[in-house]
């Protein structure tokens, strides 16, 4: 357990690092910052923090592997095969690959994989998706305030305002599902949280892309980095659509609706 001021310092340090490095370099930097210790000693704080910041900064690292390994009580540093939407499998390499994955993430398809406990990793990805969503919303909000058409900032138009409001609702809702500790049923809680985060991120992509108009479609604007990241991360460990269907199947099997949280 770290106290709030320590966490703030840690957050500042991580953010600076992530804004200046990405990929294998960031992996190395995170190792130096004590990522392995954070993961074993304070995972409840470190995992949401690190993954949310990856999303907010648009950086990437292969730390998801470590979350999966840790949950299985295996050594860090490996690249387990991870399930991908549609029954596929991928590995997340430590070194940049010249692969075909959207947005330059070092993911490549593999033939097969084994059963893994995915709850922790799904929550981690959920935080990443929420972080990316917040980054997109910040970009779209600033654009709406800066961009003048018809003689006024487009933020003054209700159609634009309501899209951005809808986006915030989706993000806040997803974050609430991620914040639930889920002691009663960690697997279902994590599954729903990943589904909510994926759905919120796709909603955010849709609205923010629209609000950003033409500039958001260019590679010179940062939006595309987040859009591409979100599309890949939504599919990883099961897409929002798939996980939602799975939750529905669970209700059918159980015959009632788990409340998952009491006051």
């Amino acid at each position: 357990m770290a106290d709030p001021s320590d966490l703030e310092l840690l957050e500042d340090g991580l953010r600076k690092t992530m804004l200046s490095t990405s990929g294998a370099e960031l992996d190395a930097a995170l190792t130096e910052l004590g990522w392995a210790d954070m993961l074993t000693e304070m995972p409840e704080q470190a995992v949401p923090l690190v993954f949310r910041l990856l999303g907010e900064t648009g950086s990437h690292a292969s730390v998801l592997n470590d979350v999966v390994q840790q949950a299985a009580d295996r050594e860090l540093g490996a690249t387990p095969a991870l399930p991908y939407a549609g029954g596929g499998w991928v590995v997340w390499d430590y070194q940049a690959t010249t692969g075909s994955t959207l947005g330059g993430l070092p993911l490549r398809r593999v033939e097969d994989g084994g059963l893994l406990r995915l709850a922790d990793a799904r929550r981690a990805l959920g935080w990443w998706l929420v972080g990316a969503s917040r980054a997109m919303l910040a970009l779209a909000r600033q654009h709406a305030l800066d961009r003048v058409q018809f003689g006024r900032p487009i933020a003054g138009f209700q159609a634009v305002r309501h899209r951005l409001a809808e986006t915030l609702v989706a993000i806040e809702g997803a974050e609430a599902t991620l914040s639930l500790s889920g002691a009663d049923n960690p697997d279902l809680t994590a599954l729903l949280a990943k589904a909510a985060a994926g759905k919120a991120a796709l909603t955010t992509v849709k609205h923010c892309q629209q609000v950003l108009g033409g500039i958001g479609f260019t590679a010179e604007h940062d939006l595309h980095v987040h859009v591409e990241r979100v599309l890949v991360l939504d599919g990883l460990l099961g897409s929002s659509k798939e996980l939602t269907r799975k939750a529905g199947a669970g209700l059918r099997a159980r015959g009632s609706v788990p409340r998952l949280v009491d006051l």
Binding site: A174, R252, D262
Partner: protein, 370 residues
């Protein structure tokens, strides 16, 4: 007060004391009778008094106890969410704004079910723009005289009293300082209550007419001009404890839907999953809101997010029921029909979906004026 222990004891008490409504009668009169019966029993056993201050007849303890009682009562379908939720809207208002003696006299009547009250806010010309209301109160000696009309006043036909918003300021007074609230006896001469027919067939909303109604000055809630603040102060309660009850109700109905669609097999999984995800997201958000309130935070525009999530999840649940139970709403006279139709209002009452988005855009996203 240990919250988990409180819930366990309450559940045990409710298991032992059967307050299930008598079968067969779904009329509004029957709902009202059941509401009074359940509240009386819960009040006498003390449950209804926890979480309210002792100065108003309560037993003290944290507010979150009220949400727990509400969840059990409404989630078990002992009382309907509509009538039950009035407690949470009106009681804090009385405690915060009425003279202490008036609150001490009146609040126990409401909590024990011996009286119901209504809330006279909306008017034919003042819906989303509530501050434009025109029902006037004019001072004459020791009393105030009220003239005007209210609408959408839930359960006014059963109510003994009304928390009423009136305009007392002149044309030059800014809207938000021109409104004053009163606690009015519904049997005062000059009040006419007329239930509205609605599309879902339950006549819970009324028009209330005020024709030279004399209200004693000591029935003013707060001071002249406090009415707008009173209306705004009530929102956090409406959007926290009340929502938690409504969520409990929606989960109970979703349980019923899971049972009714079980023969559909996999074909229902996606839609049921979507409905579940929406409800779960809402429940998690509301859980956090209850705890923020319990920890002493002031709730504000952030509850517009809860409101948007609730209206969306509610409509989605009943859309799912209509899709997966073909004909149940159109061809058969089931509860699903009434509830489906009622759910269409979820994006209208208590602040429309559009007003919520305006608030989120202005206050939470800081997008400036339109």
């Amino acid at each position: 007060m240990n919250v988990a222990e409180f819930r366990t004891n309450l559940r045990a008490w409710l298991d032992e004391n059967d307050l299930t409504p008598p079968p067969g009668n779904h009329s509004l009169d029957a709902h009202h009778a059941q509401h009074s019966r359940v509240l009386r029993a819960l009040y006498d056993a003390g449950w209804m008094r926890w979480g309210w201050p002792e100065s108003a007849g309560g037993l003290g303890g944290p507010m979150i106890l009220r949400a727990i009682v509400g969840e059990e009562v409404v989630g078990r379908r002992l009382d309907e969410p509509g009538p039950y939720s009035m407690l949470e809207v009106l009681t804090p208002t009385m405690i915060d704004y009425a003279r202490p003696e008036l609150a001490a006299e009146m609040v126990p009547r409401l909590l024990s079910g011996s009286e119901t009250w209504c809330q006279g806010f909306s008017e034919p010309g003042s819906g989303s723009d509530l501050a434009s209301l025109t029902t006037r109160a004019e001072q004459r000696g020791d009393a105030w005289v009220v003239n005007g009309q209210k609408v959408w006043t839930s359960f006014a036909q059963y109510a003994s009293r009304c928390v009423l918003l009136t305009r007392t300021g002149g044309p030059d007074t800014p809207n938000h300082e021109a409104i004053t609230a009163f606690f009015v006896d519904i049997d005062s001469p000059g009040i006419t209550v007329r239930p509205l027919r609605t599309m879902h067939g339950v006549d819970e909303f009324c028009e209330v007419y005020f024709d030279d109604v004399v209200v004693p000055a000591d029935r003013m809630l707060g001071s002249p001009g406090d009415g707008w603040k009173l209306a705004m102060d009530l929102l956090p309660y409406e959007r926290s404890t009340c929502f938690w009850q409504r969520i409990a109700y929606l989960y109970a109905r979703f349980d019923a839907l899971v049972d009714e669609v079980k023969d559909l097999g996999q074909a229902a999984d996606s839609e049921m999953g979507e409905a579940y995800l929406a409800l779960h997201t809402l429940r998690c958000r509301s859980w956090a809101t209850q705890h923020r309130l319990a920890d002493g935070h002031k709730l504000g525009p952030d509850t517009s997010i809860d409101k948007v999530l609730l209206a969306g999840a509610e409509q989605q649940l009943y859309d799912t029921a209509r899709d997966l139970l073909p004909g149940a709403i159109e061809l058969d006279d089931t509860d699903w029909r009434t509830e489906f139709l009622y759910s269409r209002a979820a994006t209208i009452y208590g602040g429309t979906a559009e007003v919520q988005r305006n608030i989120i855009a202005r206050r939470l996203l800081d997008l400036g004026k339109e």
